[in-house]
């Protein structure tokens, strides 16, 4: 079961991220939503959506976003299982940055 989902999403300006967050928070298994806009274009905007919950259904989230006119660019993070495992830093991350 998915506990946390981080998505990179492309959406039109309307519906707004306020509407989007309300709609997503009403989905079964979703307990919290955080949406951050990080790029705004003339007609569209890129947002990062973070969903937290006890049992998030990815397909339901995808369908809901599509019905709101948004498109998932990428799934940037998934945490599943009985415990959320946080990202940890590794030496490889440093070398990857060089």
């Amino acid at each position: 079961m998915i506990r946390r989902l981080v998505l990179d999403v492309l959406k039109p300006h309307n519906p707004s991220i306020v509407d989007l967050s309300k709609e997503l928070s009403e989905l079964d298994g979703v307990e919290g939503v955080n949406i951050i806009t990080y790029e705004i274009d003339q007609k569209v905007e890129n947002v990062k959506i973070i969903l937290g919950g006890s049992n998030i259904d990815f397909e339901t989230v995808k369908k809901k976003l599509e019905s709101l006119g948004a498109v998932i660019h990428s799934v940037d993070e998934v945490a599943a299982g009985t415990r959320i495992v946080e990202e940890v830093g590794t030496p490889q991350d440093k070398s990857a940055r060089l």
């Binding site: 492309l10 039109p12 309307n14 519906p15 509407d19 274009d41 003339q42 007609k43 569209v44 599509e66 019905s67 709101l68 006119g69 498109v71």
Partner: protein
């Protein structure tokens, strides 16, 4: 309740509220002015006949209603389809079945209804006295109603623009009065 919520959502997403207000005010103004013109015109022509005024008024209302309904719908639909297609190109996605596509269709339909019903309702309201009262009183009451409708539309405009509602009401009322005086002047000349 869910239906009303949907209408609210579609109105917000399609950005229809200001367009709807414009359609409503412009066309209700048309309807009130037309019926005022018909009533005063019939009086000026002499020997006013209630059947003639009602027929002419209802004919004009129906014509304005149908013309508004069809005209606004096809215009709004064409513009919104163009906008939707442009958005689809930006999104690289078909949005027809999304809430944006549905809101766009709702806005076109709603524009037609507002554009069609507002002049027809204003005109029917102004002509209502002819169904109820003798001709002389009906003409006077109808003119008063038409001028009052114009005043109310001005008040509404003033409220929308958060300015002096009375001044805006008087502005539109003056337009109605100008029409009335011009037609009465024609009667004096002839």
């Amino acid at each position: 309740m869910r239906f009303l919520e949907k209408i609210r959502d579609y109105t917000r997403i399609s950005g229809f509220a200001p367009i709807g207000r414009r359609y409503f005010i412009k066309n209700a103004f048309d309807g009130a002015m037309t019926s005022l013109g018909i009533v005063v015109g019939a009086y000026v022509a002499g020997d006013p006949n209630p059947f003639f005024i009602i027929s002419a008024g209802l004919g004009a209302s129906l014509a304005m209603g149908l013309s508004g309904l069809v005209g606004a719908y096809v215009t709004e639909e064409a513009e919104r389809t163009r906008e939707l297609e442009s958005l689809e190109r930006s999104m690289l996605k078909d949005l027809d079945k999304s809430v944006i596509g549905r809101a766009s269709r709702f806005a076109s339909l709603w524009a037609g209804m507002v554009d069609g019903l507002s002049p027809a309702l204003a005109a029917v309201g102004c002509l209502a006295p002819f169904f109820l009262f003798p001709i002389t009183f009906a003409i006077q009451l109808s003119i008063v109603i038409a001028l009052f409708v114009l005043f109310l539309l001005g008040v509404f405009l003033g409220k929308v623009s958060s300015r002096n509602v009375f001044l805006h009401g008087m502005k539109l009322l003056c337009v109605g009065l100008i029409l009335t005086f011009i037609l009465l002047a024609v009667k004096t000349i002839y």
